[in-house]
């Protein structure tokens, strides 16, 4: 018994040496930041605001921001802390740009780390919102998310339709669009165009990347012939490779676009929302309408739907199947790139944003019917609304789980999706 006790102590010491999990007591961990009110390109320091750092409900320390907006709270050890901005101490003309973001619940400080945290402040007046208004606002946010998912999911669904491949690298096409736009817009190495201008080459390059992928990778693989399951695994490998290239080039942290980062809310018809949400919804709706008309009324669009429906029949009717597949890849990834830019405007740009969105895209596509473009649109709006509106009742952390719940129920009840055809599901 005694021996094992000593053994345990030694094991614990060893574990500390090996894994460095010792509570580092020696040196200066702190949490600090700079409070700035951001209005477009203009940054104004905000002084005299109280910041409280807590751990599991116990107050660790407080600080007040100085004339340059800087504040720092030393903390005793590495660990996770909650950082709260005392909203009552904000000057009258400054407010949090996202209501309810006054508490950062999980600030992880590593040993010897001086952790920087940010509160997003902007000009405005904080307002309290009644529950009904919040519901309406959530509907707007849900429509916005639905529009973004729709842009991204059409490509996934159409590519599945014409090639049979579930492309797990589609999420990376979303990230790529956002990152390319960031390069043309905000990178010191790039031309630093306004975001609207920067979006054009980003979408074109995204689309070109889709076309190149088809010509250099998927086309040869299909002719090689490679089974669909093997191609699916290859797409997973591609997704992993691209995501980590982006991680190396772009870094791990999230970054916002400079334009439209902070906006004052609009109020109309009882809705209060930032203008960019409305713009994203309208712009996406316009793009979706163009895509819909293209699929429904142009020769190429009809050919696309024909190939998705029955490849052999389409080929024997004289449709150039390979050209159609090439077009589908180009259009699909271009749309995903556009969706990525909207997603980046609505949140921030991060190397794994597309992968996170991919789970919602899958849910939307299966819900609408794998292989259909219009089904993907319908499914996307349902998922977007469900995910955001559900936060009215359940905790924010579970909104992705809601999407999965819908997906599973749909597979049990109607696996072909809302607009899908029965024989596809196998």
């Amino acid at each position: 018994m005694r021996r094992s006790g000593i053994g345990l102590a030694l094991a614990a010491t060893l574990a500390v040496v090996l894994f460095g999990s010792a509570p580092a007591s020696a040196a200066g961990e702190d949490i600090h930041g700079t409070l700035e009110s951001i209005n477009g390109q203009e940054h104004t320091p905000v002084a005299g605001v109280t910041i409280v750092v807590e751990q599991d409900g116990t107050e660790i320390g407080t600080a007040v921001s100085d004339a340059t907006g800087m504040w720092a709270v030393p903390v005793p050890a590495a660990g996770t802390y909650q950082v709260r901005l005392d909203v009552d101490t904000l000057p009258g003309d400054v407010a949090l740009t996202v209501a309810g973001n006054d508490v950062l619940p999980n600030v992880l400080v590593r040993s010897n780390q001086q952790k920087t945290v940010r509160f997003q402040l902007g000009p405005g007046v904080a307002s309290t919102v009644s529950r009904l208004d919040r519901f309406v606002d959530l509907v707007v946010v849900g429509l916005k998310l639905g529009a973004i998912i729709a842009l991204c999911s059409i490509g996934l669904s159409l590519i599945f339709g014409v090639t049979g491949l579930v492309n797990f690298a589609h999420g990376e096409m979303v990230t790529l669009g956002a990152v390319l736009a960031y390069f043309f817009h905000a990178s010191p190495l790039g031309p630093q165009w306004p975001l609207i201008l920067a979006a054009i080459p980003a979408v074109l390059l995204g689309a070109a990347f889709g076309g190149v992928q088809e010509l250099a990778l998927w086309g040869p693989l299909r002719r090689h012939p490679t089974g669909l399951i093997a191609m699916l695994v290859i797409s997973i490998g591609l997704s992993f490779a691209i995501r980590n290239v982006i991680l190396i080039v772009f870094g791990g942290g999230p970054r916002p676009y400079l334009d439209y980062a902070v906006q004052r809310e609009w109020e109309f018809w009882g809705i209060s929302t930032v203008p960019k949400n409305i713009v994203i919804i309208l712009a996406s709706a316009a793009i979706l309408a163009v895509v819909g008309l293209f699929l429904q009324y142009t020769k190429l669009g009809t050919a696309m739907r024909a190939v998705a429906d029955n490849k052999d029949l389409a080929e024997s009717s004289g449709i150039n199947v390979n050209a159609v597949i090439f077009t589908t890849w180009t259009v699909g990834t271009g749309l995903a790139a556009a969706g990525g830019i909207f997603f980046g405007v609505s949140e921030q740009i991060q190397y794994d944003m597309g992968f996170r969105l991919l789970l919602l895209i899958f849910a939307a596509v299966v819900l609408g019917g794998l292989g259909t473009a219009f089904g993907a649109m319908v499914g996307s709006f349902i998922i977007g609304l469900a995910v955001e509106v559900s936060t009215y009742w359940v905790d924010n952390e579970f909104k992705t789980a809601i999407a999965l719940g819908i997906l599973v129920v749909m597979l049990l009840v109607r696996p072909q999706g809302i607009l899908g055809s029965r024989e596809r599901i196998g």
């Binding site: 999990s21 999980n106 399951i229 290859i234 999965l404 997906l407």
Partner: protein, 329 residues
């Protein structure tokens, strides 16, 4: 550059406890993917279920020896839960549901809502004391030769893990050469043919998913025991990708494939990690790559390696091309 030191480090990783846990988990994945043809892209979720099942039991006052079967049962139950709605459908539906479920499990476990049970981001620590109390090795000294050394504590984990891997390999070997194994291989080759012979395909697939999930659950417990802690962010989707690389590298549909695959994978992974890190320190990359960037290059290579393997040599080291799910649908 210290090539010899890099080599020894990589060798240590290749036989270390993490390699053993990967080998065990990959054995489970191989049963699902290699033998039955199920596309489970959320394998890490089963490992999470196992690890948390065990750790939560100990936190709640139970014994670790009760926690281990509970963890395995949790992973098996997850297989039932995910397989039931999806296994009647085409293979990619299972892929979609499992990859989402694994990620959502991680998010739920790390949420503040689950904090009272899972301790969210703080993780559950020091739950495996009962395991280390049985350690017959002297924790005060190192075992090995030259730089190739393990502490008594590590050696104990290594011996137990590889014993379990060997037992699991034997179990899979026996099952594959039983009537049950012939049916699941028949399902992989041609589901309709198996069905036309009166086999209940759905139930066989479900059994394979649950059994492979159980092995992954045990692997998750091993990984957690080795670190004496469970944290939600250990169970990232990239582990599932690693396991696919391991299975395909070794040879899907072979008993030894996943085990050898895990050893080779860990060796290459750590060799490259150490190599890139020291090359960066020596300034080989100038300003192009910083230290974190150089360390992340190995992840890109994992992805490229998976693509290349699948395109060029899908049967891996040991596999037979005709045993592969060449597949159509």
């Amino acid at each position: 550059m210290d090539y010899f030191g890099i080599l020894v480090d990589a060798l240590r990783a290749a036989v270390g406890p993490v390699a053993a846990a990967y080998a065990l988990s990959a054995t489970g994945l191989n049963l699902q993917f290699g033998y039955t043809g199920l596309l489970n892209f959320g394998h890490v979720g089963f490992m999470l279920a196992g690890a948390y099942g065990a750790a939560i039991t100990v936190e709640a006052g139970g014994s670790l020896w009760l926690g281990i079967p509970i963890g395995i049962a949790a992973a098996v139950a997850l297989g039932l839960l995910l397989g039931f709605p999806t296994l009647r459908l085409r293979a990619d539906y299972l892929a979609i549901v499992t990859i989402s479920a694994a990620e959502i499990l991680r998010l739920v476990v790390r949420s503040t809502w689950a904090h009272p049970v899972t301790r969210s981001v703080f993780g559950i620590r020091a739950f495996a004391d009962e395991f280390f109390d049985l350690n017959p090795f002297d924790v005060g000294r190192d075992y090995g030769w030259g730089d190739f050394r393990f502490s008594g504590r590590q050696l104990w984990v290594i011996v137990v893990s590889w014993t379990i891997v060997a037992a699991a390999g034997l179990l899979v070997y026996r099952m594959i050469h039983s009537p049950w194994g012939r049916v699941i291989r028949a399902i992989r080759e041609d589901e309709d043919a198996a069905r036309s012979l009166g086999k209940h395909v759905f139930s066989y697939k479900l059994q394979s998913l649950m059994l492979g999930g159980g092995l992954a659950g045990l692997a998750g417990i091993l990984l957690a025991v080795e670190q004496q802690s469970v944290f939600p962010d250990t169970w990232m989707p990239k582990i599932t990708f690693f396991l696919y690389v391991i299975v395909i590298l070794g040879g899907a549909g072979t008993v030894m494939g996943p085990i050898v695959g895990a050893i080779v994978f860990q060796f290459l992974f750590f060799f490259f990690d150490r190599f890139m890190t020291s090359a960066q320190l020596q300034g080989w990359f100038g300003d192009v790559l910083d230290a974190t960037g150089a360390a992340q290059v190995k992840l890109v290579l994992v992805g490229v390696g998976l693509m290349a393997l699948m395109a060029v040599r899908p049967q891996g080291i040991f596999g037979h091309r005709e045993e592969l799910l060449i597949d159509e649908r």
